[in-house]
Structure formats: C-alpha cells, structure tokens
C-alpha cells in the first residue's frame, strides 16, 4: 500500500470513492450496440411517415442514455475498509453489498482498448459464489494504479491470513517466470490454430457483401480467378489449365484460415507471461484487451491438457487450469499455457501439485457402448439422407457420407475413452482428433453421481459424474460406462479422500 493512489484503509466512517469519470466515456462507447434498441422506434417512425422526427428522437434517446449513465455514476460508490469492500449502487432501488476480503477468491483486472487509452481498468471481485456472474461484484472503471493498489491490499490481507495459518511458502520464491510466449512461438501457435471459423466468417461476409464491394471478386470462386487472369492476358493458358484457378482459390482459402489463426493468437496472447507469485499463478496477456488474472494455487481444482492430433505429433500441448475464479467471464477455465511442450508444462503442473500420470500408468477403458450416441446420430443422418435421395434430392448423398464419418468418429472415439485412478487424483482421457486429458484431484470432488439408464443397466455399467467447483455447467467431468462395481468402489475411494482433507 505504498502507492499514493491506494484507497485509504481502516477508518471509522468509510471513505467513499466514485468510479473514474471516464466511466461516462465508456458508457458512450457502449451506446453503440445499445442504440440497436432504437431501431424499432426508427422503423415505426419511418413506416408512419414521420421522418422529420427521427433525428430529434434519436438525440433525445442519446440525451436520456447519457443522463442515465451519469445518474448511475453519481449513485455508485464504493469504499475499501480494513477487511471488506462495500459497494452501493442503484438509482432508485439502492443496493448495498458488502464483500469481506476473506471471501474474495481473486481480483482480476481487465482493460479493453478504450480503457487502455484512458488509463482505466475494470476490477472484478470473484467470490466463488455459484449462480454465474450476477453474484460477483465488479467496479467498471477505476484508475489502473488504483486498481492495482486495491488488488495489492486484498492480496496482502489474504497472504497475511494464510501465513498466519500455515507459513509454508519460502519467501524467496517470489515472482518466478514460469512460461512466456515470444512472437516466434505465437506465430507457430497461430499456424496450428488454423481457423475454420475465420474462413466461415470471411466466406459469409463475401456472400453478404458481394454486391456492395467496389470490386466484383469472390476469392472462393475459381471463375473469378479466371477473370483476373484474363485481365493479364493469361486467360487462354488458364482455360487450358483450369486447375491453376482452383489452386488459386484453395491457396487463398488456406491463407485466410492461417491468417485468422495467427491473428487471433496474436491478439489474445500477445506478451503472454505466466509467473509464480507467493501464493498464486499470475497471467498477463492480450494485445488490445490486456487481462491480468491471478489464480490462487490452492483454488485450482483440476488441470486439463488439450492438444490436437497434428500438434501432438509435434509435441505441442495446451494447459488449462480449472479454478474457482473465472477468466474475464468468457471461459470458465484458465488457459495457463496456450501452446507449449510437455517439458514447459510440467513445472506449471508441479506448482499446483497435480502431476501428469506417469508413463507406466495402467489405463482402464470405458465400454464401447459410449459410441451409441454418435452411432444413433449417424443412423438418423443416414435415414434422412436416404429419404432425401428417394425424393429425388441428390444432396442426400452428402448426409449419408456424413453419417459414415460420424459413425467412424464415434467408434474410434470410443476406443480413446480411458481413465486411471492415480491414488490422489483421477486421470480421464478422451478424444482422438482432439485428445484431452483431465487431471482431477480427489480433494476437489464435491459430490459424485452414479448414473445408470435403461441401456447401461442391463450391461452392468454406470457413469460417474463429478461435481467440481469452477468450470462450465455443460462440460462436467465424467467417466462414462464403466462396470458398476468398479464405479462404486472408485466413488467410495474418492469421497473418502475428500472427507479426510
């Protein structure tokens, strides 16, 4: 708390602070998307022929929005006490929220593009309360130095408490750099990050703006490539060698895919640094939106190693840590190593005390019945395709081809559903095209479902579903289709370990 901008602590009457006045500027920026609300009104005015009113109405809308933003700013105040943060908000209905420092799992700082220009940051307090973001508190805009100071105050409080309880960490082990990504690594990562999404977006945009573009050129269309060649007098040659046009289209397609992958990688992971602080892992990254997230080591619930079929051949992996604190609201686990070798990942895993399974691990396999869902989908697709063909729709053959692929993927995927109990943690592997290894310490498991249904029960199988803090509600950790007896024994073992902790 040496910083001059540090919020004063410990006063009888709380020292109320307002958000940075630049909040108003931010709210103007937010008006852009919000003015979509105004579209129906414009439409109504237009339809009724009152065109003259549109501009005044829009100005009025702007005025009201700004007034509302100003009122919100005026009525929002917060105070940092000796051991709690108090936030009061609401124009008409006042809300008074007290967050004790003890309950704050983490403070994350996020800066968007405008925020960086203005030197402000958004501060979010993660309290680990269930039920999504509404329960967490945030300060939309405070000065960057004040934000860091605030985090320092809360961190200091927490570590004070922690050292009082268990003076474990060596004081020398401060701010060790665990992993960083230079431009070279980002480039390699970006190339592996070949983005079909970018392709799709670009293709859709091309279709959409086809008539609006000043030039009439669709790079996905080989005919357009022939047109270009024509302009250079190459047309005679090209018509003879049509494949060149096709190649041109394919190359530009690939280029967009790669460029999209590299660009997203550069934007999100520019200046990536993962450091070990006394009690937490801290990650800073981002080109335009710079985020600074700290994960308390003790709050890490599970480690997830993701790779791809191709990148695994080159030894590249991605490490995510599932933690109570969330990642700027967008993803529910933290990417701590976006793209690295296992040799780089192991030290990170060691800091959170979740080691990779040793080489001699005996993996158990899920029953092949897990392919049933995919096979069912394949059957449905095949039937749909057959019906379409029967009705004289040649595209139905596409559906049948997809069905074959789907069935193959399901059958192959079922062979790659493995698990192993490693004493203090469970390892779950799945996937062949995108292998994913989940390392789940027994101590993080809060509850276990043993699920059977009318398919699994006759086969004597059950699925275990683990209740783990953090992560998304959709992607819960599970071991599918293992023998009931083994499932029950495993459940007892895991819960016993958790109860002892």
């Amino acid at each position: 708390m040496t910083d001059a901008a540090a919020p004063p602590t410990a006063e009888a009457e709380p020292h109320w602070l307002r958000l940075h006045p630049a909040t108003l500027a931010l709210s103007i920026a937010k008006l852009g998307p919000r003015s979509l609300n105004f579209l129906p009104a414009i439409a109504a005015l237009g339809v009724t022929g009152n065109w003259a009113y549109i501009v005044p109405a829009f100005l009025l809308f702007l005025l009201f929005s700004l007034l509302a933003a100003w009122l919100h700013w005026l009525r929002f105040r917060f105070a940092v006490g000796a051991d709690e943060v108090v936030i009061e908000s609401g124009v008409l209905a006042r809300q008074h929220r007290t967050i004790p420092f003890d309950r704050i799992q983490d403070v994350s700082i996020e800066q968007g593009l405008i925020a960086r220009v203005l030197g402000i940051a958004k501060v979010e307090f993660e309290t680990g309360a269930g039920g999504g973001k509404d329960h967490d508190a945030s300060l939309d805009a405070v000065g960057l130095d004040a934000a860091e100071a605030l985090r320092g105050v809360i961190r200091a409080h927490r570590s004070e408490l922690a050292t009082a309880l268990a003076p474990a960490d060596a004081p020398g082990a401060e701010d060790r750099l665990l992993f960083a990504m230079g431009p070279r690594r980002l480039l390699i990562a970006g190339l592996f990050n070949f983005s079909l999404a970018a392709l799709a977006v670009f293709g859709a945009a091309m279709q959409f703006f086809d008539n609006l573009l000043p030039f009439d050129f669709n790079i996905f269309n080989p005919v357009d490539w022939i047109d270009v060649a024509e302009a250079y007098g190459l047309d005679a040659w090209l018509v003879a060698h049509r494949w060149v046009a096709g190649l041109g289209a394919a190359i530009s397609l690939l280029f967009i895919g790669f460029a999209g992958g590299v660009a997203t990688m550069f934007f999100t992971n520019w200046g990536f640094r993962l450091t070990r602080e006394p009690r937490a892992l801290r990650r800073t990254r981002g080109l335009t939106t710079r985020t600074d997230v700290a994960m308390p080591v003790r709050r890490v619930q599970a480690a997830i190693l993701v790779t791809g079929w191709l990148r695994e051949r080159f030894g590249w992996h991605e490490l995510r840590l599932q933690s109570l604190a969330s990642d700027g609201g967008k993803e529910r686990d933290h990417q701590v190593v976006p793209f690295g070798t296992l040799r780089e990942i192991d030290p990170v895993l060691a800091t959170v005390a979740i080691d990779r399974p040793p080489g001699e691990t005996r993996w158990e396999r899920s029953h092949h019945i897990v392919a049933l869902g995919g096979l069912l989908g394949a059957v449905i697709a095949a039937v749909g395709g057959a019906v379409a063909i029967a009705r004289g729709e040649p595209l139905g053959s596409l559906a049948i081809a997809a069905a074959v692929l789907l069935a193959l993927a399901a059958l192959v995927g079922a062979r790659f559903r493995l698990w192993a109990d490693l004493g203090d943690r469970v390892a779950i592997r799945r996937g062949w095209w995108k292998p994913k290894l989940t390392l789940l310490p027994h101590a993080s498991v809060q509850s276990i479902d043993l699920r059977t249904d009318f398919v699994l029960r006759p086969l004597g199988l059950a699925t275990l579903v683990f209740g783990v803090p953090g992560g998304s509600a959709l992607g819960s950790h599970a071991i599918p289709a293992i023998p009931v007896g083994i499932a029950q024994a495993l459940r007892t073992r895991i819960l016993a370990a958790g109860g002892a902790a």
Binding site: D102, G128, G130, G131, L161, A162, L165, L324, R332, V445, Q446, S447, I448, D449, L450, R451, T452, D453, F454, R457, V465, F466, G467, V468, P469, G470, G471, S472, A473, S476, H477, R491, L495, G498, G499
Partner: protein
Amino acid sequence: MSDAAIPHPTDPFAPEAINAVDGLTPVDPAFRHVLRIATLLNALPLAIAAMLADIFLVRAIDGPYGLLTVLGWLLGALAVAILPSRRAQRWGYRVGEGQLRVAHGWLFRTDTIVPFVRVQHIDVGQGPVERWFGLAHLVVHTSGTHNSTVTLPGLPADLAAAMRETIRRHIHTDFA
C-alpha cells in the same frame, strides 16, 4: 439416523426393489400426491392447449380433427394417474457415515453422494402442496458447478428438519 436401516422387502418385482437393492430408504408415500398435483398443474394447461390447437388450427387446415384433443387428455390423464406413484417410489435416500445419498429415476437413474464436509449450506423448503401433506424438501448446496444443489423431496417436515441439524453439525467451516 437409525431409520435409515429399516429392513426392506426384497421382492425383486416390487417397485421399490430398486431402492432396496441399493440399500436406500424410500421417501414418504404421501410424496406421490405432491407429484400428482404438480403433474396435474403442468398437464392441464398442456391438454387445454392441445384442445385449443385442435379446435382452431387442425379444423381450419382440415387435419385429423379431434386426434390432438383425445391424445392430449389421454396422455395427461395417464401422466397424472399412473406415473406419480411410480416416480415417487424411485426416490430414495440414505444418511450414511458422514455423507448424504440421494437417488431418483429409473429409466435414467441418478445416484448422488454428497459428503457432509462438502456441504456449503442447507435449505429446508416447503411448498403449499407439500405443506398440505406435511412434507418438506431438503436442498443441499455444494460448491461444485455440477450438482451445485442436490434436492431430496418427499420428507416428513420434522424429519427434514432433523436431517438438516444432522448435516449442519458436520459442516466444517474450513474456509479461512
């Protein structure tokens, strides 16, 4: 909980056999009435909607007039008359050594264990229909994203309160 060890009939064809096999206590039989009324309140609007759709839509497009109405009311009646008692029998629980076990369903059976030390907080709730039959439901909150709440319905109100006390004694405040 001593009443968790009541001997069960072991007739494998008895509907409650699935609980007996798992060593679980069935919930209060009166719970089927609660389920029935809840189902009724859900099915009635659906049946009426089906009837209205039949009258105003199917007749207008010369479809099979009457089919939807009959189907809607028939399925609704079945759902209200037969299913609730079966569904109620599939619910089972057990307060074991330091853990709560709740199981329900048959086609898709879910059997959940929550260790008491993992319980964040506990609710005992009672809806108007439940109050009518002297029942209550126990809701156990964990910090897991999956299973953040585990609900055990169909408990006599006093038993629910007693269970809450049992679990409450076990909750360690291991947070600093």
